[in-house]
Point group: C2
């Protein structure tokens, strides 16, 4: 049906899934990389940097904003985006808590 049955899962499972989905598009990865690389705000050059149409970039930025990973400052007619370092740290911890689990190193399965 295309609709995820979120209600049968834990908050943790849903949180991790929602965050993962935001990372689940290369354009959003590329946007985050660009924001990190410039180490400051980026005002308007994302459309040329990424190579998608302006409405498409705007939509991806919206999803990054929804997760709180980026914040936008209105600078006159422009909007400048930068990473929200606090939220970035939270998401980092969320993934660490999952990926950092001890998985059994047994070569033999069963």
């Amino acid at each position: 049906m295309g609709v995820t049955k979120s209600e049968i899962f834990t908050d943790y499972q849903n949180e991790l899934a929602v965050a993962s989905r935001v990372f689940g598009h290369p354009a959003r990865i590329a946007i985050l990389q660009h924001l990190i690389k410039t180490q400051t705000c980026v005002c308007g050059d994302l459309v040329e940097v990424i190579g998608l149409a302006q409405p498409t970039i705007s939509q991806h930025l919206k999803e990054l904003k929804n997760l709180g990973l980026i914040k936008g400052n209105i600078e006159g007619a422009r909007v400048c985006y930068c990473i929200d370092a606090v939220r970035w740290g939270e998401i980092k911890k969320l993934f660490e808590s999952f990926l950092g689990q001890q998985v059994s190193a047994s070569e033999e399965c069963c």
Copy 2:
């Protein structure tokens, strides 16, 4: 169009996005958690544990297999699944390389 323009992105960006999408469903998170918790193979009880229909679970297992995160051993009529620890480590490193980046701690944006 619902089709990602993968060709305009780097291998790294696409790899991270593809892996993220696999984590982008709570059922798949739940399956991985269960496999890790039992510390060994799981044969058949996933349908009851997760609470989705058998074909749906089978489909999620397929996606986890495609990424290489789990491997299935045929045990007679049953199939037993367990985490692939090596691949798990690779994916862990992939996320660490991204999330571990130094994001500027500047409170002031622009």
